[in-house]
Symmetry: C2
Subunit: 342 residues, 2 copies
Amino acid sequence: MTNIQDVARHAGVSISTVSRVLNGNARVNGEVRKRVEAAVETLAYHPNQAARLLRTNRSRIIGLLISDIQNPFFMGLIRGVEDEALRHEYSLILCNSSESPHREQQYLDVLYAERVAGAIIVPTREQLAEEQLKRFRERGVPIVAVDRRVKDQHIDAVLVDNVRGAREAVAHLIANGYRRIGMITGPTTTTTGRERLEGYRQALEEAGIPLDPKIELRGTFEVQSGEELARQLLNMTPPIEALFVGNNLMTLGVLKTLQARNVRVPEDVALVGYDEIPWAELGSISITTVLQPVYELGSAAALRLFQRLQNPAVQSRQEITLAPTLRVGESSRPRTGVGSLT
Amino acid sequence: MTNIQDVARHAGVSISTVSRVLNGNARVNGEVRKRVEAAVETLAYHPNQAARLLRTNRSRIIGLLISDIQNPFFMGLIRGVEDEALRHEYSLILCNSSESPHREQQYLDVLYAERVAGAIIVPTREQLAEEQLKRFRERGVPIVAVDRRVKDQHIDAVLVDNVRGAREAVAHLIANGYRRIGMITGPTTTTTGRERLEGYRQALEEAGIPLDPKIELRGTFEVQSGEELARQLLNMTPPIEALFVGNNLMTLGVLKTLQARNVRVPEDVALVGYDEIPWAELGSISITTVLQPVYELGSAAALRLFQRLQNPAVQSRQEITLAPTLRVGESSRPRTGVGSLT
DNA sequence: TAGATTTGAGAAAACGTTTTCACAGAAAGT
DNA sequence: ACTTTCTGTGAAAACGTTTTCTCAAATCTA
């Protein structure tokens, strides 16, 4: 392997000068700089990252710790982070906690030991291990939470406005004539689960529709949970007219149950989901859903991380909120027949 | 950060001894070893990977370069590799070529510069850049190809028997009374695309059914391609009785077309797919499909890589082939009415 | 018991960078 | 013309390991 010394010899300068050219920031004569750059070019020199890391304690790797690699929602996010990282000439080390706090802990250890330059995480819980994060902070390694908020004064967050997404979705249902609307949200230990429930309630209150706690159900964000809770909701009296489901996987579960029971959408029950619902086009109708800007979520988080890296001086905590959009499909068509409009 | 020196001082030995204990392999007195281990424990010492890497040129990171992170097929594979890596106390740096040879090249550069200990790749083409791979080999960094074969004498491969998978799928259709069977395979530049076509042909030949090149179509492994090619196949005369599709995404595309044209499965056309087809349960019937052992594919590749790492002495190239299984659903029910069985 | 071998442990070199310090020469201020 | 400030450069220390070399002590061989 050619090293910095070879380059120095080839250019007739000292290794200090080569280093300065490489790192750009110091003052070095233009003519000398050109000679060094030429030498780097002809020798195809690539700095040894290990040596650099040993000296500076700053790697060119960032960690991305997501909570469920199986969920297609995160694919877009990964790509957003990946593209931004590539652009800044960083590599990505991808970890998957599978929603397990234990595994999350384990991976944070790995990232710490690997001395990543920074990390982007989708926290499994709001209350991440305090000391764990402190270690990173002490070493000056920035962390950005994404999609879910975390209880820590020092950690930036990039979020989507869940309250708004849910509120608009439910308002849309109301506008189309539905009044008795059931909700399946996620675990209320997550901010996403809580906020979507909050948005649902706001929309109902704004329309003057009384809340009914019996049709506000909490799932686990997984397919099976959607299946089960849908069964429960279908048995309610008076029957529900519409259903708002708090993420993509649970929506799929709901669809399975509806299909199994021969409940027609939207004739019998209208439906609005959350997130892009993969392959839902396969069903006979298109599903109305709250779309989140997943790619932007990833790239914004990465961008914020690189801002921190480029300017490590104390900056105040930032919380970036992106707006979701409602994609209207056939599953929430205006209510016909029974409506109070006639 | 506590370093090896701190540990040495705390245990009352030299740093060489600590290093020997840490790396296990050298001879060191049992009593001293215990003292060192205790010191490591109480000081919560973690070796600095950068220094270690600088010295040994061997990182504790392996690269995983896959061809399409959007395809759910690879999720299982990633988990297989991830679990095995974690077990061996390696971390994973995940790269995604998006089926682009250029991006693949770029990421190989990154992995090389990052000095990964080894790499597992899903090659975008059979003919990977010769010199690229040579660099890795010269540095003694093993590479394992997975899912797709690569033209290189030195690279291990972990594969699934595509010929067999396709042959059994088509034989199953034939056994159920279908004779005119169309096929949509992948690009014939990939081994998977070619081999599945080969299996299809073998099954027909074994049954004495003449091949018809007009109903052997080549797609791109993407949803849209399945949609288009299904349209073409539906227009054939004489009409096809069954359809065999060479991967999951194209099968979804086919389903979309069938639905749009109101073609019933299996009454009008029987269908067999390839890979786990996500959310296909949503359709009214279950799809018969060739299941690949994705998790095992990943863990076997990782296992082979770690074998190489633990025993770097020249070993002959290994090619591991796993067997697919056919999961029979309703989409290929025995043909009724028209059959020659009556 | 004298020599040969084995065992156990320390000193020190090396890996390839970045960065501090020192210093020569040029430019600028008096 | 003499100090002062800038610019540009090199020498050398440090980062934290692994590993080679040495060497003393312990064990074995004759």
